[in-house]
Amino acid sequence: MNQIDAVERKKDEYMAESLEKALAKIPAKLPPPGMYGRIRSGIDAEIQLRSLRRKAFGFASGFVVLTAVVAVFWSVLAQELAQSAFFDYLKVLWMDRDVVAANWSSIGSSLLESLPVVNLMVWLLFSFFGIGLVWILVQTWSKTHPHNGSNHLAIYT
């Protein structure tokens, strides 16, 4: 019985070898030319997307910080405005127009002098930074998500 098993095993091995030799000659299915280029485009698109996401995150974080700063400065500015004579001069502008027309120059100067200029400038500066960041965020977002909703950095191009 062992001899028969050994013969059967030999036949198995011969069959396997014969088939393997035949199959090994099957020509490989070759990738189309430029396959690496296609893969590389996908990788580059992903690198660009990651960079844009990092920028977007950075700008969003900056925007949050700026918003907090603007809010703080606004409360300081509002307090200083309330304590200054600015609103009093504004009331005069609305209530007594004849007096304003006659003394517009000095009333105008007083109005401007009553403003807390330093804090106002700082607040305006931070606000403009904030608007600038929002604009950059929108630009960054639109690069990755154009109007038709598709991601033009889609890597399978």
Binding site: L19, A28, L30, P31, M35, Y36
Partner: protein
């Protein structure tokens, strides 16, 4: 450069910033992975897309690649998983399509009919199309093992790593594949009067 593991050296070089290393590394393996995927992917799926996806996934994980492992085995594992993900997404294809149709226990192996393949039958395989068609007759589970072992020169141990199966299971599956191929070959037109 370490001659015994050029792939690991190329990975290291790329991670250090040498972009060309990635090109060399990938161009070494694109043909093999493409051959593997295109022989296994159902016709409904785009093999080029899957290959591209697989290589991009490999790129994402390159910094986590264990350089003591075989890069080829690791890459084929990613390719296989990418293929399975696509199959899973395509609900019309059964997800288990890489499982063999029959059981894998050695006791299920049918006895060989005792006849070696006639040389004339093997000569039919000299036609590339005939050989390729014969391979396509195998179910995907067996075909995967044959493609990886015979065409892509992976060892049974490596194939086991790729498929996540024990080596013995892979060997058994391979034997069943050879038996199935032999049977299909004998059933091919032109072999009726042979052997």
């Amino acid at each position: 450069m370490d001659q015994s593991n050029p792939d690991a050296d190329l990975v290291k070089a790329y991670l250090r910033g040498d972009d060309d290393a990635l090109r060399f590394l990938y161009e070494r393996h694109i043909p093999g992975v493409f051959n593997f995927i295109s022989r296994l992917a159902p016709p409904e799926l785009d093999a080029e897309d899957i290959v591209q996806d697989a290589f991009i996934k490999a790129w994402r994980s390159l910094n986590r690649f264990d350089q003591s492992r075989s890069f080829k085995t690791w890459l084929f594992t990613i390719a296989k998983n990418t293929l399975l993900d696509r199959v899973k997404a395509k609900k019309s294809i059964p997800f288990s399509f890489l499982d063999s149709a029959d059981g894998e226990s050695p006791s299920n192996i049918e006895p060989v009919d005792g006849q070696p393949l006639p040389d004339a039958a093997l000569q039919l395989l000299e036609s590339d199309k005939a050989a390729s068609d014969l391979l396509d007759k195998l179910d995907p589970g067996k075909r995967a093992v044959v493609v990886m072992h015979v065409l892509e020169d992976l060892s049974f141990r490596q194939i086991g790593e790729v498929l996540g199966e024990p080596m013995d299971t892979v060997k058994t599956r391979y034997r069943r594949a050879i038996q199935a191929l032999s049977k299909h070959l004998k059933d091919m037109p032109g072999t009726n009067n042979l052997g």
